[in-house]
């Protein structure tokens, strides 16, 4: 999901639905919006026994 960061593109925190022909990468690169899916870090688990 793309979330709004800058008030110049909408209400911060709300989902951003890019209008047709919007250069979304430019908005991501310069921090106007953020891709929340890309921000999540992978959770790692281990089965190794503790010493």
């Amino acid at each position: 999901m793309i979330k709004i960061i800058s008030s110049r593109v909408g209400v911060p925190g709300e989902e951003f639905t890019p209008p047709e022909y919007t250069n979304l990468q430019a908005l991501l690169d310069y921090g106007f919006v953020v891709d929340t899916a890309a921000k999540k870090s992978a959770k790692t688990t281990t089965d190794e026994p503790k010493d």
Partner: protein, 139 residues
Amino acid sequence: MATSTYLSNPALTINAVNLTDQCTSATITSVAQAQNSSAFGSLDSFFVTGMTMNTFECELFMSYAASETYATLAALVGTQTTITISPTAAGLATPTATAPKFTLANTYLESLPLINATLGELSSITLSFQGGTLTTATS
């Protein structure tokens, strides 16, 4: 005396970014390029419409702060983007017959002045977008 006038105060977005508070002039133009269809037998010139050439020109104060002019435009050079503009801020959100919203989609930005500085003056830049498809919304 004109019975109805309009004090320039439009609102606009460039690539979905509202830069109204940085803009000091804006012109959107649609030109139906004239093709000369005159032929032998006539002493007058006649024209028919050729391709449509839409352009958008604006002047913006330059700012290198986050979410401002440079951040909006830097990645757009050499690409196509979308411009929206309305005579009023309200028309940008909710267009009406008396406050239409013009959308220029797939318009091309050829160049961006990276620095335009003069001693003692606020830095501003002039942009020229070329081509694209123009639509007008009134509702």
